[in-house]
């Protein structure tokens, strides 16, 4: 006699593999987050918000294997003065990290049992507020994050902080959660580098107070088979600045969500990304910017270079609430398709309830400009190098969003290296 088919529940199947860490101050927030996960359920293929990206490998109980990829590139930003905080497969490594002290900043580990009042108020709260669209994988992260750091920026940070994510185990399944609070007038540059884990679920909540500045530059590399779902939740105060740039090379699946809530007048929020993918590569940028204050500026600039069947996704929304007059919102997403097999799927959205705003958005897919290519070749530049030059030119608008020249040059060098290795 055949067994009756049991109704499987993907959310419970996943939750069954996880243990909620106990550390006092965050327990209530974790339990509330777990309740949100159960209420929403993990994303499935029929979810509108996951229409272009299959969530299966991000939600399944165990991480799919991702072999390690080595090349001869040295560590990124290695010649820069920065405070290094190293995670190996999602686990903090004190030995590889620098001493976690510097002027202008207080750094604690998420796993601390000390009661960090500001973090207790913030942990999970920006994530919980960020569900204009359901983000169950972020709630899952809040509930089960095993590591991460709490950064309280009280002044201008002495130097950038660099999270370095090393990947050494082929089946590592890491859940990290960072919380950053930038006090009024304070400044921090945060760098994130490395492939992190076979499967990486990372959240970062960033509270940028009045007149504060937060710069974020991230380079997601490098391992071809890794998967990642990341979220940034940020809340911006009056006259504050938030700027985030992400470079992504390789990776079977990456979804970067950025949820920006502009609450203070005259604030500026820029989020940008450049990615290059060859073959089995799926990259999804999902952005949600809410304007709920006067005279704020937001910019979204995303560029994708895709070849050999690589897939790029962009879902970007600007929501201008009633009364958010003089909003200046800009959004551009473009792809350069280097062959007929690659594809770019874009869903730009504007939702505006104020009558005195300037919002623009554009999305394009294109091939290499044959006229320009011939012009370069006619001057003796070989086709491969000419294509690289035009590809870098295409990415330039996004890359130029990085204000710091040294950081920008370091990332451009990575891009050049990648293009050279993947010359068609």
């Amino acid at each position: 006699m055949a067994e009756p088919a049991t109704q499987s529940n993907p959310t419970e199947d996943r939750l069954a593999t996880l243990t909620m860490p106990q550390n006092g101050w965050a327990d209530a927030a974790r339990k509330a987050a777990l309740a949100r996960v159960r209420e929403m359920g993990l994303p499935g293929r029929r979810d509108e918000y996951w229409k272009f990206t299959r969530p299966d490998s991000l939600t399944q109980p165990d991480a799919p294997k991702a072999s390690l990829f080595h090349n001869d590139e040295g560590p990124l930003f290695d010649d820069m003065d920065r405070l290094k905080i190293v995670f190996v497969d999602g686990i903090f490594d004190a030995e590889k990290s620098d001493d976690l002290t510097m002027s202008g900043v207080r750094i604690d580990r998420l796993a601390t049992s000390a009661d960090i009042h500001w973090a207790a108020d913030l942990y999970g709260s920006l994530e919980a507020d960020g569900h204009y669209v359901q983000r169950p994988l972020a709630a899952l992260n809040t509930a089960f994050a095993t590591d991460g750091v709490l950064i309280h920026v009280t002044d201008k940070a002495e130097k950038p902080i660099n999270f370095i994510y090393l990947h050494e185990n082929e089946t590592s399944d890491a859940i990290l959660h960072h919380v950053v609070k930038v006090d009024a007038g304070a400044e921090l540059t945060l760098l994130e580098t490395g492939p992190a884990a076979a499967r990486f679920n990372k959240s970062m909540e960033v509270d940028v107070a009045d007149g504060a500045t937060f710069h974020h530059v991230r380079a997601q590399g490098r391992d071809h088979e890794r998967r990642a779902i990341t979220h940034i939740f940020t809340r911006l105060g009056t006259e504050s600045t938030f700027k985030s740039f992400t470079l992504t090379v390789n990776g079977r699946l990456t979804r970067n969500e950025c949820v920006i809530d502009i609450q203070g007048d005259d604030a500026v929020a820029h989020v940008a990304g450049a990615c290059v993918g060859d073959g089995d590569f799926h990259h999804d940028d999902t952005v949600f910017v809410t304007h709920d204050a006067l005279r704020c500026e937001s910019r979204q600039v995303f560029k994708k270079v895709l070849r050999n069947g690589a897939v790029g996704v962009f879902q970007g929304k600007i929501l201008v609430k009633q009364g958010a007059q003089k909003t200046d919102g800009y959004q551009i997403s473009q792809s350069l398709l280097l062959d007929d097999d690659s594809q770019f799927l874009a869903k730009p959205e504007l939702e505006i309830y104020a009558d005195d705003v300037a919002c623009s958005h554009g999305s394009t897919s294109g091939a290499i400009d044959e006229e320009a290519l011939f012009y370069l070749r006619s001057r003796g530049v070989p086709a491969g190098i000419a294509t690289d030059l035009l590809t870098l030119a295409f990415l330039a608008e996004a890359v130029e969003e990085i204000e710091d020249e040294a950081l920008r040059d370091a990332l451009v060098e990575r891009l050049e290296g990648w293009l050279e290795r993947h010359r068609g």
């Binding site: 044959e370 001057r379 003796g380 530049v381 086709a383 030059l389 035009l390």
Partner: protein, 251 residues
């Protein structure tokens, strides 16, 4: 130097014959001019020689110092010493003029087995050559041809030619869109490159460019063929009487 024999070319996309048996030889040290009415195939000839897509050579040959041009990629033709000054130089946003030129110079040197030029040496050379063509530092830094005036674009073509030092230069209607002063500047740039080892093929509608770049030989092209060849006086004849008489005479 440049030898073209019985060259037949049609468009790839449609069955339309553009060149119908072109024969032409340009010797080292000489300036040849090709004149002809619109649609006679002058620009097509320059594109086919430089390797642009979209044309099919159905018969004939073109060689540069004995090397088969038609069998090479565009960059190989450039490295072999061929240079085309475009009628419409292409704007390339995001690629700096200087980066572009240095990449081109070094790619050609590499293809010829020479050492690459250092950044410092390159800068020294390009500054001197740019100055002669009244190209300022800002134009060198800007993206290739982006926001350049018509005259600036043509001067930029001549700068590229001066930096790449080709053996065989083809100028495709370099006078189009230029006022008298700009034309003089461009012509001076070209004349400075005249050399016993270098050939020129100057394609133009009008005689006035040839007042400044004095040709040794003038060809008249019509309906895909060279129909008449003569000395500089042939250009004056065109200027005075138009093409009609010449075409009637050879018909």
């Amino acid at each position: 130097m440049l030898n073209i024999k019985d060259l037949h070319v049609q468009l790839e996309e449609e069955d339309k014959q553009i060149l119908k048996g072109v024969d032409l030889t340009v010797e080292a040290g000489k300036v040849h001019a090709i004149m002809g009415p619109n649609g006679s195939g002058k620009s097509t000839l320059s594109y086919v020689l430089s390797g642009r897509d979209g044309y099919e050579v159905t018969s004939g040959e073109a060689t540069l110092d004995g090397e088969d041009l038609l069998d090479m990629e565009p960059e190989e033709r450039a490295a072999a010493g061929l240079f085309l000054a475009f009628q419409y130089p292409v704007e390339i946003p995001g690629v700096g003029n200087m980066t572009f030129l240095r990449t081109a110079v070094n790619a050609q040197r590499k293809a010829r087995g020479q050492d690459e030029m250092s950044a410092a040496d390159f800068l020294k050379v390009i500054r001197a050559k740019a100055k002669d063509l009244k190209i300022d530092a800002d134009m060198l830094k800007r993206p290739v041809n982006v926001g350049f005036s018509g005259g600036e674009k043509k001067r930029n073509e001549i700068l590229q030619m001066a930096m790449l030092e080709p053996k065989m230069c083809i100028l495709d209607e370099t006078d189009s869109g230029l006022d008298v002063d700009a034309m003089k500047l461009v012509a001076d740039g070209v004349n400075a490159l005249r050399d016993a080892g270098r050939g020129f093929l100057v394609i133009t509608h009008y005689q006035r460019l040839l007042d400044h770049i004095k040709p040794d030989v003038v060809h008249i092209m019509a309906d895909g063929k060279i129909v008449k060849t003569g000395g500089p006086e042939l250009a004056l004849e065109v200027e005075n009487n138009g093409y009609a008489d010449i075409l009637a005479e050879v018909a």
